[in-house]
Symmetry: C2
Subunit: 364 residues, 2 copies
Amino acid sequence: MNTLPFTVEATQGNARAGTLETLRGKVQTPVFMPVGTQGAIRGLSPLHLNQTNSQIILANTYHLSQRPGHRLVAKHGGLHKMMNVDLPILTDSGGFQVFSLPKTVTEDGVTFQYEVDGKKTFLSPEVSMEIQQALGSDIAMVFDECLPYGADKQETSESVERTARWEQRCKDVHERPDQSLFGIVQGGLFRDLRIKSLNELIKIGFDGYAMGGLAVGESQTEMFNVLDNIKEHMPDEKPHYLMGVGTPSDIIGAVKRGIDMFDCVLPTRSGRTGLAFTWNGRINIKNNKYQKDNTPLDPNCDNLSLNKYSKNYLNHLFNTNEILASMLLTLHNINFYQELMSAIRKNISEGTFDQFHDKYIDKL
Amino acid sequence: MNTLPFTVEATQGNARAGTLETLRGKVQTPVFMPVGTQGAIRGLSPLHLNQTNSQIILANTYHLSQRPGHRLVAKHGGLHKMMNVDLPILTDSGGFQVFSLPKTVTEDGVTFQYEVDGKKTFLSPEVSMEIQQALGSDIAMVFDECLPYGADKQETSESVERTARWEQRCKDVHERPDQSLFGIVQGGLFRDLRIKSLNELIKIGFDGYAMGGLAVGESQTEMFNVLDNIKEHMPDEKPHYLMGVGTPSDIIGAVKRGIDMFDCVLPTRSGRTGLAFTWNGRINIKNNKYQKDNTPLDPNCDNLSLNKYSKNYLNHLFNTNEILASMLLTLHNINFYQELMSAIRKNISEGTFDQFHDKYIDKL
């Protein structure tokens, strides 16, 4: 089964510009996926999603299985229909969320209490596959074990082996022909374990390969080291996905190291707290100095229909606790991330990505 | 000066369908103005405003004079530019807000403490005109005295006389040629005082006449009585505006009594609390019974691009405290109000308004 043809169209060093062909349309990479944890991108109207040039979004298996429940979603025609979104959707496996909760891990899976109502819940490779197939996402992720930052080599090694067994179990029970399945590479900051993990997954065979267990507290240098250590080993013909990352700078540096896909709550979460990403760097729009600043939030933004609001107006909206403050800044940030991805892709295609990287890696 | 030509195009009984010609475009009446108190319609993206067929919006003199400050708004090109809204804007005078605060009223004006920071503030006919002219709204309202529900006849009579003097002072200092000025009829529930107030205003001469001092706690029957008592006295050739009203039922009944213009926070405020207005009546979308209801919020809604969301999805969004819950329900409610106004207008034009009134007056 390969429901996700992937073509690399241009490269510069390890950086790649390509196209993923999902059953819901083509996705040009490198791509950023806005996060719709509970079936909604927080603060962003689905009616604005296309205007931001978003091509694919992420939703969360763990949260949706609890509320409204994956069986209800399936009964009502799946996640796309519920959300009224025509774009492809990638669902994570729940592993990352569950591993931040108090839990009991056995070879079978993970037992934990649901954080909202304390209900005892069990998640395993088979359960995660059942949920994701019920949700009907275009890309499902295997259920992996995600260790905290600082786990030692022995613990990490055991976890890598268990994760490989879990990923095989995911592959064994996954049967939805219109859904792709990605493997997740673990191994912490250890070069040999990362390569070992990747090789186990390649043996199983997936439609794409993700780097997991990052964005858990490590420095950017440590994260880039992990990518440098593994980049020559990643299968060229499959998409490479760095989960939960990150800042614009993280993304630029990761693309340089061969990553094609990203997701992160940063642009949406920041939008709600007043932090705007712009081509001139970050702005805290709540800062008093913007009260009298009538210039646009980002004069270098390409999408002026979205970005015509002045700093003083946005400052006023935050100052008066208007919902529109979060709405407009979230819209701006998602749009900025998508402009960033377009610029990255264009520079790879034109052979100028190294200059782009050097210009922006410390600025954004 | 008449910056606001008004043409009545069809009548049925006292109900009128007409056109207001503002300098920012034509407004078909009867019209509902969504409320953008602080320079933002709460929870509604300005990018969606046109999709709801809104023709004119309201903003608030009292709130905007405090934050961000009318001088700052003027310096930056006025309220339309700040909000990035091309539609006409009507500003209220601040009277209604101020009279709900602890205050000292003299012939000069009203002294009160600003509710956010306790700053001592003075508002008068002259100050209100200065603020509204600085904001640059298309329609300004005179500064009137708004009494609480239950004020006795003596007090109301004195207030009507003071209001007339204040309205004359507004007219005297109002000089912006691109801004219309409406008078506000006071007089509580007293027929003779309402007529006296109206006649004083007609002597002064305004571009439109508003009914003030309603929506302050009286019953619908009392409000309709006030309108019945005065409807034959209102100048036919000017627009009639009922301030701060109301429910769909209130609006239908008021149109029957000759009202052309409305504003109310009900559709936006209700959108944030889960109350949806539909052609089948009101729905509290938070109700558990909607968890498994996959039907659209309002199958009779004309605007299916806005209204394609199912009850169970909206219930889920409220249940999980997603901002999108308020956003989508506010959008729905504003759109419903505008569909209601279109239907009212169409029925007046086609001579079927009485049947429409009787069908919906108790249902909506």
